[in-house]
């Protein structure tokens, strides 16, 4: 079964089978969209919540506001139906909690942006493992929609 690695800012997809994997989610968010009937899966690795005018050449998956619509478009392209899409997400951690870089951590801002956008598109979030102070690895099995999240020194969880 092919395993596709999704790097920061990227969006990848698979139909029928395959594993979509993203490694090293810190403040970033890994998002998956799944249409169980069409067996279509899309994964994005989102870096920041809002796109910036001075970074117009960025891939859409880098920012939540451009990434979520691009992920939906990719799912539809592979034959998914929007009303059947379900989302899962992992990440949005704050690895340096004592620094108080922002009043709301970037991880938290990412969680809120992704949650709001999915809601706007009417896509339910059916599983999540977010926030906290540790990094995560996320694997998405397109065959059955299962998503596993692993972290250093913790037992893997299925979301």
């Amino acid at each position: 079964m092919p395993e596709i690695f999704v790097n920061m800012g990227q969006i990848s997809s698979s139909k029928d089978n395959g594993i979509l994997t993203t490694v090293g989610l810190g403040s970033c968010i890994g998002v998956t969209l799944y249409d169980e009937k069409a067996k279509v899966g899309v994964m994005g690795h989102i870096f920041l919540p809002h796109s910036r005018p001075n970074d117009a050449d960025a891939p859409p998956g880098k920012y939540a506001d451009t990434g979520i619509p691009a992920m939906i478009a990719e799912a539809l392209r592979l034959g998914a139906t929007k009303s059947r899409l379900q989302a899962k997400m992992a990440g949005g951690a704050n690895l340096f909690p004592n620094l108080n870089l922002n009043s709301v951590s970037i991880g938290q801002q990412n969680i809120e942006a992704v949650t709001t956008l999915l809601k706007q598109h009417g896509i339910p979030i059916v599983g999540q493992d977010v926030a906290g102070n540790h990094g995560r690895k996320m694997r998405f099995f397109v065959e059955n929609g299962v998503v596993t999240v692993t972290a250093i020194g913790k037992d893997p969880v299925e979301i």
Binding site: N7, M8, G9, V23, G24, L25, G26, S27, C28, F47, L48, R52, D55, A58, K62, A93, N94, L95, F96, P97, N98, L99, L101, I106, G107, N133, H134, G135, R136, K137, I152
Partner: protein, 197 residues
């Protein structure tokens, strides 16, 4: 980033790294530390974590916010094996993983290195640069790295200085990232007579 700017940033980082290494050497009195290869590279931000040896490798990241006349961010990253050697040198204890004592030793070391790095630049430019208390994370390289980039609002490229120290036959690897605010970076350049870069 134009070449002159990159060269100047490399030069600043080299000066700062030299001083930081001296400070580290003094902290580990009696053991000679030698800076083997300082090597600076500008990398697309998505490739930086891979350059450090894989996204899943455990690393120690020290992250500092700079305030004063020059604002910005600074970070040091060490592979786990190098961090364990550092902890052994600092505390005299040989451990397989990083416990609370190890964390505080690394935090203190990060503090000293960052402070001496910034002091060297402050002396040269007469600009005040004050580091925050360091943040410390022991986690997957990818997670530490992207959290630093997101925290410092780096969205395109980043200059990474790779350093290697050796002591008593052991090698310690580290990566230093110095990210001054754009406008403040120009102030540094003007202070040393380079004009706006």
């Amino acid at each position: 980033m134009r070449n002159m700017k990159l060269d100047f940033l490399k030069e600043l980082a080299n000066i700062g790294t030299g001083h930081a290494t001296t400070a580290l050497s003094q902290m580990l009195s009696g053991r000679l530390f030698q800076l083997v290869v300082p090597d600076a590279q500008m990398l697309p931000f998505t490739e930086a974590a891979d350059y450090m040896g894989g996204l899943e490798q455990v690393v120690v990241g020290i992250f500092v916010v700079i305030s004063g006349d020059v604002k910005g961010y600074m970070a040091c990253l060490h592979p786990l094996e190098s961090a364990l050697v550092l902890i052994r040198l600092l505390t005299g204890e040989d451990k397989a993983e990083i416990d609370d004592m190890g964390r505080s030793a690394l935090q203190e070391m990060g503090n000293i290195m960052v402070t001496s790095f910034l002091n060297a630049l402050a002396k040269m430019t007469d600009l005040l640069m004050v580091p925050s208390v360091p943040g410390l994370a022991v986690d997957m390289a990818g997670a530490v790295w992207e959290s630093i980039l997101a925290g410092a609002e780096v969205t395109s490229k980043v200059t990474v200085i790779r350093t290697r120290f050796s002591t008593e036959g052991e090698s310690i690897e580290g990566h230093i990232i110095f990210l001054p605010d754009d406008e403040d970076f120009n102030r540094i350049a003007r202070k040393v007579g380079l004009g706006d870069l």
